[in-house]
Structure formats: structure tokens, C-alpha cells
């Protein structure tokens, strides 16, 4: 399908330096299988898993080692075969701590029984597919890590009529989605078909920012023969890939404040998630590896790497030749929304889309000064909030006032802090306000 579609444009947004040139033309390389993997039992939004193995147990590649507790959760699997060394609390790259299964790799990659084998997509029932997505431990690989099986089982009163795959990849530096689209377009299309089948939807869009013309062309070619799947080129503007902004850009529908995409009949998944679904169905293997962009000025050989979950950041950096100079800052994810880490000894999880090593110069940030009320934060806010006012109230501890200014609607894209000429910690103070507001609501409930 190639009919011209009317695109909508969200308000606000920024054009930070893209810095994708370091890795956008580099083929995905498979990272060396590490001697030891640290597999956290919490790699998703929701409840952590219960371990299914104990110290000394032998595990196989793809074996389920963590059982989800609760509906909003997802199982975790071993990314190597070997012996469980211990189960202990570790630092996660998101800045929190969680229990993890530490496995010594025997290097044999003895595989677990596949979840499914050789069945064609037409022969699966919807229930079987939903269960497969759950059993394969698939979560949103764009960064939110929301369990995908939950998204693929919407309540009956929410009728979904449009599926969007998010290939915008608007974060600077990151190119893992880009490379996936260029190298494995058929996996993405297959995953899209699975999602469309599960949700009984005939309209599917794959949205890509127009700074990736090669990916757009390749995806268009791959989608040519597919009914109902259309490739959309979106203008390059951060945060084009933010869920609400993406839905608006493609469909013109606005997710109501405080609502979910399903409220307006739309479901968004990352292209990586779609590919993971495809792989689970085609190979029967659960999600045990992901593509990670390793970049930043301090990395010796910036790369896109296929990494087994649980591999430490240090091993991944080593695979990329180490660093040219001692990095000043380590970031899990992109530079706009990623988390700065105090150590390289954290495992790659389902959430890790990028590892950035910033040089001293790249990490430099000016000291904050007085707000001059230039309102640039307001102009760039894709939600049209008044970040400087919310921030001012937050810094004074007036969280109720911050709530009245819609602090909870903030999507934490970071445009406000990026653009602030006074370098004020706008997003940071809004995040504090959000936390306090949610805390207060819990107390009052």
C-alpha cells in the first residue's frame, strides 16, 4: 500500500544533535557469550518474578528461571546454559536493585525444549499466540518494558482498530531499531501480522522518522505484498517516538489526559518487540537477547551489538574495544531519557536499548541559574505544560499546586531541561513532584 496519508504534527519538540552517524551504518554484531550472566528477576514494569532455580542447578539456554507473580509481570529465561552460582540482590541499570540469578556459562548453549515448533501462523489460535507471547517473556523493548501479553489482551470494552509499530527511534545516538529495520525487516512484518491477528485489526502502520531513509525503503519493500500494513515516514523531531505524540502524528487521535492508547482504539509496540514476537513463534525460543547500541565519544569502536541478557555492561564495552579515554558518564539508554550509572557492573536487561559512554566534554553541564521566564520549556513541551511553573512549585514543596498544573501528565521526555538557557533542573524537579503526588494519593486512598 502506498496511498498518501495525512500526517498530523504534535506541538513542541526539539532538534537535538542526532549523533547517530557513529553506528547507523554498522551491521549488528553478536556479542561474545560471557563467562557469567546476571539475570535480574525484574526486567519489566510490574511485579518481580519468583526464582524457579536454586544454587547449583543446571540450566539450559532459554530455560524459564523466573516465574511471573501477578498478571502484570513477565517470565525471565536463562540466556546461556550452565550452572546457577547464586541468587542475590544486584544493581540494575535503571538505578534500582532487584534479585538476580547468576549463572556460570558452560559455553555449550544446550537448548531448552522450544516453546513451539514448525507451526504456521494460520494454525495458531489467538489464545495460543497470547500465551506464547507471555511464555516467551516478551515486554516492550522500546524502553518501558510493559509486559506485551497484557497489551495484547485488552478488555472487551476497548475495541482496537489501529496497530502502530514504533520505529521512530527519536533518541539521539541510538540506532538499534534502525539496524533491525534494515537487517531484519521480515521479522518486523511477521511480528506485526501476529499482533494484528491477535487483536483482530486490519490496519497496521509502521512509523519511522525520516532521518532513516534506508530503513523506510527497506521496510516499504518488505511490506509491499502485505495487506493493511503501511510504512509512514514521520518528520524527525524529538520526541516523535513518544507514544501519545506518535499516535497523534499517525492517526490524529489524542490519547485523553490520564488515559491509555486503548481508550482511542490504538495499540503501539516497538519494532524490536514485534521482531521478538516473530522470533519466539518462528524459533520457539524465548526472549534471551536484544540489540544494544554502544556509542558515545569515549567508546573505542561504537557498534550495534546483539547481546545476551545478563551480560555485564563491562563485557559489552570490552567487546567494543574498550574506551579511548576514561568515560565521565555512563548512560543506560539514550541521552534524553536514559539513566546515568555509577558503575559498569550492571547487567544488560530487556530494557537496555543503548549503552553510552560520554567523555568529560560530552558530560559537561552548565550550572543552573535564575529562570528568566523565556518560556522556551513551555514552547517545546509536547504536552503543552508550563514546566517552569511546575518546577518552581516543586522546588518550594507545593506539590498540590504542581498537581493542579498537570504535573502527572508529564511524559518525562526532557525537552524542557534540554532547551532551558538557564540550565535549570526542570524535569528532575517535576519528577520529584510526580513521585510526591503519587505518594500522597496512595496515603489518601
Amino acid at each position: 500500500m502506498s496511498s498518501k496519508l495525512k500526517l498530523f504534527s504534535f506541538s513542541g519538540g526539539i532538534h537535538p544533535p542526532e549523533n547517530k552517524h557513529m553506528t547507523e551504518n554498522k551491521k549488528i554484531e553478536t556479542c561474545k557469550s560471557p563467562d557469567i550472566v546476571t539475570i535480574p528477576l525484574l526486567q519489566h514494569t510490574g511485579a518481580p518474578c519468583e526464582p524457579l532455580v536454586a544454587k547449583g542447578d543446571e540450566v539450559k539456554l532459554g530455560q524459564k528461571i523466573g516465574e511471573p507473580k501477578g498478571y502484570i509481570s513477565a517470565p525471565v529465561h536463562s540466556s546461556v546454559s550452565g550452572v546457577v552460582k547464586s541468587i542475590e540482590t544486584v544493581d540494575l541499570p535503571t538505578g534500582i536493585k532487584a534479585n538476580a540469578v547468576i549463572i556460570e556459562n558452560d559455553g555449550k548453549d544446550t537448548p531448552e525444549e522450544p516453546l513451539t515448533s514448525g507451526k504456521r501462523l494460520e494454525d495458531f489460535s489467538i489464545k495460543e499466540l497470547q500465551n506464547l507471547v507471555l511464555e516467551a517473556g516478551i515486554v516492550g523493548l522500546g524502553g518501558a518494558c510493559f509486559p506485551t501479553h497484557v497489551k495484547l489482551s485488552p478488555p472487551d470494552d476497548k475495541k482496537i482498530d489501529i496497530i502502530i509499530l514504533n520505529g521512530a527511534e527519536c533518541e539521539p545516538f541510538l540506532t538499534s531499531d534502525h539496524r533491525l529495520m534494515v537487517e531484519k525487516p521480515e521479522e518486523i512484518i511477521y511480528g506485526m501480522k501476529v499482533i494484528m491477528k491477535i487483536l483482530n485489526v486490519s490496519q497496521g502502520y509502521i512509523a519511522i522518522e525520516d532521518n532513516k531513509p534506508d530503513a523506510i525503503n527497506i521496510m516499504k519493500e518488505a511490506a509491499q505484498k502485505e495487506k493493511g500494513i503501511q510504512i509512514i515516514a514521520l518528520p524527525t523531531r524529538y520526541p516523535q517516538g513518544a507514544e501519545k505524540q506518535l499516535i497523534y502524528a499517525v492517526t490524529g487521535r489524542q490519547v485523553p489526559a490520564g488515559g491509555l492508547p486503548a481508550d482511542i482504539g490504538v495499540e503501539v509496540n516497538n519494532v524490536c518487540t514485534a521482531a521478538a514476537i516473530a522470533r519466539a513463534i518462528q524459533t520457539g525460543m524465548p526472549l534471551y537477547q536484544r540489540i544494544v547500541t554502544v556509542s558515545g565519544g569515549a567508546v573505542k569502536e561504537p557498534k550495534n551489538v546483539l547481546v545476551r541478557l545478563g551480560t555485564s555492561f563491562r563485557d559489552v564495552i570490552e567487546f567494543c574495544g574498550g574506551w579511548t579515554e576514561e568515560p565521565a558518564k555512563i548512560i543506560n539508554g539514550g541521552p534524553m531519557m536514559g539513566t546515568a550509572l555509577h558503575t559498569l557492573d550492571v547487567p544488560v536487561t530487556k530494557q537496555t536499548s543503548g549503552i553510552l559512554l560520554f567523555t568529560k566534554k560530552e558530560a559537561e553541564q552548565p550550572e543552573p541559574s535564575n529562570c528568566i521566564r523565556c518560556a522556551r520549556c513551555h514552547y517545546v513541551c509536547p504536552i503543552r505544560l508550563l514546566p517552569m511553573n511546575i518546577s518552581a512549585q516543586s522546588l518550594l514543596g507545593n506539590y498540590e499546586e504542581a498537581e493542579k498544573l498537570h504535573a502527572l501528565e508529564c511524559i518525562e521526555c526532557g525537552c524542557c531541561s534540554y532547551i532551558c538557557p538557564a540550565s535549570r533542573p526542570l524535569l528532575q524537579s517535576i519528577q520529584v513532584a510526580k513521585k510526591e503526588i503519587i505518594e500522597a494519593r496512595k496515603q489518601n486512598a
Binding site: P172, P335, A340, F358, G414, Y418, I419, C420
Partner: protein
Amino acid sequence: MSNYIVSSSPHIRTHESTSRIMLDVIIALIPAGVVSIWKFGVKSLWVILLAVISSVLTEYIVQKLTKKTVTINDFSSAVTGLLLAYNLPPGAPWWMVIIGSVIAIALVKHAFGGLGHNFMNPALAARAVLMACWPVHMTNWISPGSDAVSSATPLVLRKISDAATSATSAATSSATSGATAGATAASMELPSLLDVIIGNIPGSLGEISSAALLIGAAYLLYRGVINWRIPFTYLATTFVLTLFINGWDFYDAFYQLFLGGLILGAFFMATDYSSSPVTSLGQIIMGIGCGILTTVIREFGGYPEGVSYSILLMNVATPLIEKYTMPKIFGEVGSRV
């Protein structure tokens, strides 16, 4: 153990800074300053230098005395000094310039919390105080090129000629005062439109050349330091209202746009970040409000010009305007994108 920097996202920042914005304003004000020095000679230069230096010095002293970080390198006090100078007559006495700077920086800016917290435009507030205290010095206009020849600004002439016309036409019997005013107006004709736009007129030292100010304004718009909302609605409102009040005299309505510091006020003073609304709708209301007040003061008030008072009045209305013009957020009922 290595020490990696841990900070909240985002991890990249724009290169724009407060000092860069202030520097842009200074750059934008240069053409008008050059015309002023060309027209009024070195007198202008002295007032400009004195105002800038005393403003920066005042900020330095205030911040030292209150044990705060000295922030004179953000250029904001230099901008205030420059704007104050542009609002003074070219021959303003030195002590008046210094007093004005101290009022602007110490009283209007720092007493209320410093940069970003002043509730009025500091330069305009200082001008208003000086005007109230030393009206003679503040209206001692001189003609460009001549040496200390007292003159009247075109707006004053316009006011006198208006009064004369209405007086002569209304009451032929008691025409004494009218005739006198008429004679004065006749002897001092209104300058041509070209002179007015270039700046070949008496007036405050930075306001005279609308052409030079517009060049600066275009630069500020291009750099994104200001947006069109306040200045354009301000000028449009003034134009339309004057047109309406003066019986569809297009020439006069156009002519008076370039008088009395309207261009300086609309682009450089009413757009002051601290004392104007941040919301889009609020900025439009600010512009319209300034336009209405300026026209009313000019046409019906006792003063010949009303730019500074109208901006100051709208400055104090700013918090109220903001309160009632909060934008609808994304996804809110009835919001536009």
C-alpha cells in the same frame, strides 16, 4: 573505584544560554545606538556608557552586599542599562542617569528577587520615576544635529496641532488660545514620514530611529529571542484604534506607529520575559492591552505619549493574565495541537 557522574536525565543540553540571549538583545540594540550617536553626537554615547556602567556596577554592589553570586556576566544588567539609556533624552544630566540605573537594578530588579523576578520592566519603571521627579530634564528634547536647541517631539506637535484644529473649528468666538496654539503648530511643522522612520526627529536617544530598531527587532525574531505575538498585536491594535478614532486617516495612523518609542517599546520593552505573560494567548492579550492603553493615552490623555505607561500597566496585569490564559494540555477536552 572510578567516579562516574550521576545526574538526572536529560544528559545533553542546548548551547543556548541566558548570557547568549542577553547578548542577542544587546546586538539588536546596536543599530539604534549608532543612529543616536550619529544624530545627537557624543552626548548620546556618554549617556549610554554611563547607564550601562552604573547598572552593571549597581548589580555588582547589590549582589556583594547581599552575599549572593555575582551574575553581571549574564549581561542582563547591561541590557537594562542600555534600555534605560535609550529611554532618556540625549542631554540627560549624569546624576539622573545614575539614579535611574540604581532604581532599575536595585529597586525594581533585585528587591524583588533578581533576574526573572522583576514585576515591571526595570528600565521603564526607572524612567517613570525619573519622569515624575524631574519632568523638565526628562522632556528636554533636542533636535538631531543641532547643539542643544530645544525642540518638541513629533508627538507633542501632533497633540498641539490636534488641539489647535479642534479649538479653531469648535469655537471661533473665543479663539485666542486656539490661535496661539495654531500659530505654534504652524511654525513647527510635523517632520516628514521619511525623517520619522530614519530617526531625523527629536526624542529619547534610542527611540528615534524606527528603521534601526526594526533591523534589531528582525534579528531578535530570527534568533527566536522574541516572538511576534506581543509586538505585532501591540502595533496592529494601535494602528487600528488610531485609525478608528481619527476618522480613517490612514497616513496619520501609520505615521504615529514610528513615534514616541512605540517600536522600541513593542519589540524591546513589552517583550521583557519577566514582566510579560508566558502563555501564547496571554501574550496576545498583553499586546492588545498595550495598544489600547497607548492609543487612549495618546489621543485622550494629558501626556503626548503613552508607550511606557501602557507597558508598565500591562506588566502589573501579567500574573492575572497568565492565570486566566493557562493553555489546554495535550489530551485535555477541547484542546488543539
